[in-house]
């Protein structure tokens, strides 16, 4: 195999194996930053040896064995150092002896080559620990669990590489200083910690998804990576309905990726999308993930509810077939669980579609006093639409104009001004 081919093969093996190797070593040395360095060392060894020896038959096991040996070396050195400081106290030493007992002999007390799931789950919870800033959690997750290089992360987030490198270094230091244990959180903090994990994955997805055109090729790769992480988590935490809910939401949103922009990159709203361009493999997967969340019983959480709403659209052969009453009911549930002005506005739209513009307008009007909505163009845009449908053209005109003045998107502004103009009697210039 030519050398560059070997390097490509090593890249591929690294992408598949790195998280498992880091997780296993982190379990041994109880420190994520150090674990990553040890795993990187193993990678460097592979890069040196494999071009000469060829890729081994089981490259994953090879990397794991090299990394484990390094970890054991490290632990032995640390233990020796501890012995030298014997005078500091025999108790401490004994404690450490006990702690090392199960890692001193590789293979014994090991949970088997295939059973890496628990360690991987610990790694996910640690990388997404709330002690870290959101940005740090995202960078660390992509680095430790996605096997992405700092350069790739930097390109995906359109920030300079040193910034990302700094973020990762600081994140590792923070975890070490805070002595964050390498474990799956116990029942009392499990929900909050899981929410942090899901938030990170969804933020990664949205970072990729919100770049609609002309973006760096890395940005779509972020959607893929978030989906992959979600699917991995779904197999590790099979009993968590919100994990399946998030996966369902991402699968269904990703299914629309090719339909949501026009030939020149202009955004196409959901109801105007050509549904034949939706990816039916992803829709099928999304509906299956939602069914998994529902099958676990109990009330749906915020992600599962959003997925259920997305599923209503995915199931409708045409926009006209949309089950708006069900969507309105799902938004009702979402508004109670995770109330926000944006959810409320969406609820207003769903209510208007299900029961007529007057019902929607009532909910939208209640948002006028909401400070967060003051400069949000979608509120006047939605109100304008309701008022137009109710025949209150003067008011509709004013709302569309206001919306146009608030949006920063040029195309959207043109669209809103056109709608505003359509509210006026034919050809009559507006006076005053």
């Amino acid at each position: 195999m030519a050398s560059h081919e070997t390097h490509r093969a090593i890249d591929a093996v690294w992408r598949i194996e790195s998280a498992k190797v880091i997780a296993k070593v982190a379990r041994m040395v109880q420190e994520v930053g150090l674990a990553e360095e040890i795993a990187q060392d193993a990678l460097v060894t592979a890069l040196e040896r494999w071009p000469q020896t060829g890729v081994p038959d089981n490259p994953g096991a090879w990397l794991m064995a090299v990394a484990k040996h390094r970890a054991i070396d490290y632990l032995r050195r640390r233990k020796l150092l501890a012995l030298k400081h014997e005078e500091l106290g025999r108790e401490l030493e004994m404690e450490q002896d006990m702690a090392f007992a199960d890692v001193d002999e590789p293979g014994s007390g090991d949970d088997g080559a295939d059973d890496y799931g628990d360690d991987l789950l610990r790694l996910i919870f640690t990388a997404c620990h709330p002690v870290l800033s959101t940005e740090a959690r995202i960078a660390l997750t992509l680095r430790l669990l996605g096997g992405l290089s700092t350069d790739e992360i930097a390109r995906a987030f359109l920030v300079p590489e040193p910034t990302v490198a700094q973020r990762i270094v600081r994140a590792k230091r923070t975890l070490a200083e805070a002595r964050v244990p390498f474990e799956v959180p116990g029942p009392e903090e499990r929900n909050a910690r899981l929410a942090s994990v899901l938030e990170v994955i969804y933020l990664i997805f949205n970072e990729g998804y919100s770049a609609t055109s002309g973006g760096d090729w890395m940005r779509p790769a972020l959607c893929d990576e978030a989906l992959r992480l979600g699917r991995v988590l779904a197999e590790l935490a099979t009993q968590e309905p919100e994990v399946h809910g998030l996966v369902a939401l991402m699968e269904i949103q990703a299914s629309r990726a090719k339909a949501r922009t026009g030939p020149s990159g202009e955004p196409i709203l959901l109801l105007d999308q050509n549904r034949a361009r939706w990816d039916h493999i992803l829709i099928r997967r999304g509906l299956a993930a939602l069914a998994r969340a529902e099958a676990l019983g109990g009330a749906l959480g915020p992600y599962a509810l959003q997925a259920a709403i997305a599923a209503c659209h995915a199931r409708a052969p045409t926009g006209a077939d949309t089950d708006w009453q069900r969507i309105a009911a799902l938004y009702d549930a979402l508004a109670q669980l995770a109330p926000s002005p944006v959810v409320e506005l969406n609820r207003a739209v769903a209510l208007a579609m299900a029961f007529g513009p007057a019902t929607g307008l009532e909910v939208a009007d209640a948002l006028l006093a909401e400070p967060l909505m003051k400069n949000y163009h979608l509120l006047p845009s939605v109100r304008g639409d309701f008022l137009f449908k109710l025949g209150r053209l003067e008011e509709a005109h004013a709302e569309f104009e206001r919306a146009a003045s608030l949006t920063r998107n040029l195309r959207e502004r043109e669209l809103l001004l056109a709608r505003a103009a359509a509210c006026l009697p034919d050809g009559t210039p507006r006076l005053g």
Partner: protein
């Protein structure tokens, strides 16, 4: 990037109708399938009945001609496939290498074409291709009044 891993088992071209893999073979393959699923790369997978239960339609002179299987002239036939989503061709090859394949099995790794792979003129000529590809099946197209 989406890739198909096409399983080509030698001998399957002449397998009797109704031939199914043994429980052992299925168990080994399931372990591999689970690995793909746990890694978050598996999109879908299917196994195919032997060609003895299928048919081939050829077009001599532009006219369809149907021949029932097995096909005497076929040297390689599909036994099934996986569709995976991975970051590179090398990663797809690495996954294929991990399959517990038998002595007589070959996996062909092929990238799935995306419309964006084609130059604009071909994209234009193929307008509507995606629609055809993904038209909902088994649903009445007629809309009641």
């Amino acid at each position: 990037m989406r890739f198909m891993m096409l399983m080509i088992p030698k001998g399957y071209e002449s397998a009797a109708a109704g031939t199914l893999p043994s429980a052992d073979a299925v168990a080994a393959m399931m372990k591999y399938n689970e690995e793909l699923q746990k890694a978050g790369v598996l999109l879908s997978l299917e196994g195919l009945h032997p060609p003895a239960m299928g048919a081939r339609v050829s077009f001599p002179g532009g006219k369809p001609r149907v021949v029932d299987g097995p096909f005497a002239e076929a040297r390689e036939v599909l036994g099934g496939f996986w569709m995976i989503n991975v970051a590179s061709r090398a990663e797809a090859i690495e996954w294929a290498s991990r399959c517990p394949g038998g002595e007589n099995e070959v996996i062909e790794v092929r990238q799935v074409q995306e419309m964006s792979d084609f130059p604009p003129d071909v994209q234009e000529a193929a307008a509507g291709f995606t629609e055809m590809q993904q038209a909902p099946s088994g649903k009445s197209k007629g809309k009641g009044g």
